[in-house]
Symmetry: C2
Subunit: 640 residues, 2 copies
């Protein structure tokens, strides 16, 4: 018997009322995780992001000292959950801005529209030839004059319908094959999966069930996981669903999560989180559409390299550390069950190939979807997520790079930033009279600001001369400028309006500028290296989870994208899932994706001599070199 | 609680002293099985072969009436174990002729010599390129300037050494790969297996262990299972071992075993038996040679179609029943562990391909070993086991057939027949004075007669006029002829000589004649169908487990083989294991075996219009048509 067996305390979280029993001394953030409560946390519990604020209503606790709380907050028993330990039964209130539950996620309808389109267009461009298909085979039963064995008889029947020079059959299928064929009179549905050049007999069932073959395409985002349910017989998207990546409690970017996993030997836990997220999405889609999980034969994933490593529990540690490599860029198809994904127990899990540690299969999917790799001319593709990945090229060459300038445009690292969910300000204009017009998702009172709103805010602050070209607030006395706990700030919605108070701080602006500077510097390095001038660009594709109504003009205004005619810039939504769906539906598309991944040249910006210089220059609005942004020069009202 | 819970009884078997506790009413044969006692049984416990005789020393039992015991036997408490139920604690004596334990099996030295030879010769004929190999790869570790992922880095390194256009890696290997490569400084031993056109990374280990790579080749005989331990780095046979097939308690031929398994739903049990036999052989070989089981990466099997089905638990039921087909003729390589075979947990199990339900991979191995399929001219191959399979052909065509005339030449279905073990009469001559000279294996007192001895006995009885051309004993008064319980019989060793009494009965002779007639009829059908005359035959290869010193002349004398010059007949021993070893050592040999299996034309004798006629004619000694046996005509002493 253990002598000093720890006492247990019950922690109750309001307003949800969820309770959890934990040992004395447990960190409050961990208790919240265990209770299934979502708390924002960028730093992964290291105590420096100040995001995981909660209010203690009752109970004994010990908190480490921090500079991230104002005296007022301390007065009101606000603590950082990651710096606070439980020492008795407690009651905790979780502030509303944490409470972004799955049910509140709004599907990004633009992204949805684009991905739908892509899936269908591609199904036309590429031959419809899904990675997993069901075929109905009718064989003449063996006789004494036709004594071909059942296994070989099945192969002959399959080959009458599809091209399958190299075939294999799992042992368990082989063991049941003869009895099954006899019992169904040699009329069977064969589920066929493609693994490289090999065609695998995944399953054999009695009778004809060819019309029941479904797949789930997944975009493994660092922040949001999106899943589309596909009817493989019709190449149609049946339903879509999204959830927050529940790894988020371990850090808002994947580098923090890798560090957390290393320090806490939490790789299994990290895998469990993302696998559970994917399983929950699958179950939600299947039950809503009344589809048996056994009828889902395929899962296909695209995502950044780290997320794919977490999903499969491959070692991700050197993604964050020299020499910055992946364990595997090309992951062979595996049985989904091997990774814990609950579909047909013999169903397959495909992951699109990635290019490098920081250019994942989501970017390959983007190139596939935008079809840059088939085009003449020169095209730019930028995917703004937690990192900003950039691709430049055409059918002859492709270069790519990743800027790790932070997830500000995903709403992280910004005081009132949030993802594109209900109550997020997605559109914002500062009128000539200094008053502010905004629109929220769902037209509810504002809770925070999502990507497109932050883009608008930064551009409007700049255009209206409230910040200067370095991103500094110019002076007091400007309408909306106040002095907050963290210094000067711009008031978007004041608590006095009956709204939740929403401000943009100097730190927020710095983060946003850093993000856009990172992206633009990456673009510049690729363009300079390939001697591409803005006027050479035939199109610029912007992908990412900004929200529904992205004002692409603002992306030029702040100097995130090169100053090309606006009609050349296209917001393409979630190209990661669109590409995954295309591959799912056509083996030729998978081959194309593999060729893209192999042929893209990766520029490591950290070791690139020009990058820091370009980054520093891009930290101005729109840039130190104004000649790069002639259209902004004209519009700018308040520059001297 | 069960009311009439059965009482238990202890059954003790002498002379081994083994004891087993069984419920009241248990059949004695079953009790013996459970105790691990070998009892002969041809009929699988149906009570009509009369083989499973035991003596009851003590205890209560109930036996069904039978005509298979003499009054003397009944007097002496001899019973059929399969017809007797236990009703109290009992003591049983198992007669010596049952007691053929593993340790008593004599390796067939001729077969061993042939198989050694074959393995080595073939390794020269075919390029040495084993199905599973270990290679040592040294990679330059990744750097920021060489950021190829570990998985792709490994593939590049492998492809520098071997030809592997299509590769795959198991998920478990992928998961551990990065940590392993880092810990060993990118110097690793890769175990590579070939599965069709695909090259699989079976295992990756730190450092260089290339020199430790072993395989076991197995001949899955209905009666005997033979295993050879092979050093894959040297293409050398390290050790050999054999055991009785412990399925034998369920019937001495595989048809009986299939029936038993169907009637008792004992397919799993049947698999367990043969898998245990193979595992025991592997453990024996490995421990004797001080080899870690993990260093055994491959098992390769050849055997009749039914045995391969039992091993893998594939449905064998239609092998014995219309339309007489296999579940699978071509079995893909599987992980040995999937079938329960205990070698390296990721090691592979290969089965050679078979032709038809009654022409198994052992025959394909025989054709491969004798190289008929590469030769000009015409060649005959006959493998005499429980069935007699026959192949005729050359490099342009191959025809084959199987006669199910019974296992008499394996010593089954013959009163004092036995396998080639210690005490078996393997050579026999009837001298002019009527006295008998014989030689036993191990030069011990005779226990029974093995295949070569039975061949000699039948031929000598015929040549010396003791039996006529129909196989009937001619008349009383001939030396050695006595009247036994089962009618007229020929005394080989009388109990009065201080020997165990050994006789040949009329029934024995009938069984032997039926066996040889089946083989010869099969040969005739193939020869007639291809218009092959005896003088067209360039060689006749005789394979099987007859014993060490087969007198091939006697096989012609009795009319089992066509009357060709004796120098054209060659006893080739166990070609099943020789072929398996050849395939193990060369991918090209596997391809050749596949081509042989595909290209051989199978003649179903049961539905062949000529077979019964040929069989009837061949039931004479040597044949009804003496012109087919000119050499016998000359020698025959006693024919009118």
């Amino acid at each position: 018997m253990e002598q000093n067996k720890k006492k247990k305390c019950t922690v109750r979280f309001e307003p949800s009322g969820l309770k959890i029993e934990v040992p004395v001394g447990t960190v409050l953030l961990e208790a919240a995780h265990k209770a299934g409560i979502y708390l924002s946390s960028i730093c992964g519990g290291d105590g420096y992001c100040g995001k995981c604020k909660v209010i203690i209503n009752e109970g004994q606790f010990k908190s480490k000292p921090t500079t991230l709380l104002t005296p007022d907050e301390t007065q009101e028993n606000v603590v950082l959950a990651c710096q606070t330990r439980v020492f008795s039964d407690m009651s905790i209130t979780v502030p509303k801005y944490h409470a972004l539950e799955t049910s509140q996620i709004l599907m990004d309808t633009d992204a949805r529209r684009f991905s739908e389109l892509a899936g269908e267009v591609r199904a036309g461009i590429f031959k419809f030839d899904p990675l997993v298909q069901k075929i109905f085979v009718e064989m003449s039963p063996p006789t004494v004059h036709d004594h071909t064995a059942d296994h070989e008889r099945l192969y002959l029947a399959i080959r009458q319908q599809i091209d399958a020079p190299i075939m294999q059959t799992g042992f368990r299928i082989l063991q049941k094959l003869s009895r099954l064929l006899q019992s169904c009179g040699y009329k069977a549905t064969v589920t066929i999966g493609r693994r490289g050049q090999t065609t695998e007999v995944i399953e054999v069932d009695e009778g004809n069930h060819c019309k029941k073959n479904f797949a789930v395409a997944v975009d493994l985002g660092t922040t949001t996981v999106v899943a589309h349910l596909i009817d493989l017989t019709k190449a149609a998207t049946v339903d879509t669903e999204a959830t927050y990546n529940s790894q988020i409690n371990f850090g808002e970017d994947y580098i923090r999560r890798i560090i957390y996993a290393e320090e806490n030997d939490a790789f299994d836990q990290m895998q469990n989180r993302i696998v559970n997220d994917v399983n929950n999405l699958i179950v939600t889609l299947a039950s809503r559409q009344r589809i048996d999980l056994q009828e889902i034969t395929t899962v296909i994933c695209a995502g950044n390299t780290a997320m794919v490593h977490f999903l499969l529990n491959l070692d991700p540690t050197r993604i964050r550390r020299e020499p910055y490599i992946a364990s595997a860029g090309f992951v062979p198809p595996i049985r989904a069950a091997e990774a814990g994904i609950q579909i047909n127990k013999r169903g397959l899990l495909y992951c699109l190939p990635s290019v490098a540690a920081y250019v994942g299969s989501d970017i390959v999917a983007g190139v596939l979807t935008t079809r840059i790799y088939t085009k003449k001319g020169i095209y730019l593709f930028a995917d703004i997520g937690t990192n900003g990945e950039v691709v430049l090229g055409n059918r002859d060459w492709l270069v790519c790079a990743s800027s790790s300038a932070g997830p500000a445009f995903e709403g992280s690292g910004v005081k009132h930033g949030m993802r594109a969910g209900a109550g997020a300000i997605e559109k914002l204009t500062i009128l000539d009279n200094g008053s502010i017009e905004f629109k929220t998702i769902g037209n509810t009172p504002p809770v925070g600001i999502c990507g497109s709103g932050l883009l608008d805010t930064l551009a409007e602050l700049f255009i209206n001369g409230i910040i200067d070209r370095t991103g500094r607030f110019k002076a007091n006395g400007q309408p909306g400028l106040t002095e907050g706990d963290e210094g000067r700030q711009f008031q978007i919605a004041s608590a006095g309006d009956g709204h939740h108070e929403i401000v943009i701080t100097q730190a927020d602006i710095d983060n946003l500028v850093r993000s856009k500077a990172g992206v633009f510097a990456a673009i510049r390095v690729l363009m300079e290296s390939t001697q591409t001038k803005p006027e050479n660009l035939d199109a610029v594709y912007l992908a990412g989870g900004f929200g529904n109504f992205l004002n692409v003009r603002q992306a030029v205004t702040i100097g995130m994208l090169p100053d090309v005619p606006l009609e050349k810039i296209q917001f393409v939504g979630n190209t990661s899932i669109a590409g995954a769906k295309t591959v799912l539906l056509s083996r030729k598309a998978l081959k194309a994706a593999e060729k893209i991944a192999e042929s893209m040249t990766y520029f490591d910006l950290m070791s690139h001599p020009r990058y820091m210089d370009e980054f520093t220059r891009a930290k101005f609005l729109p840039h130190t070199d104004l000649s790069l942004f002639p259209s902004i020069l004209k519009k700018e009202k308040n520059n001297t």
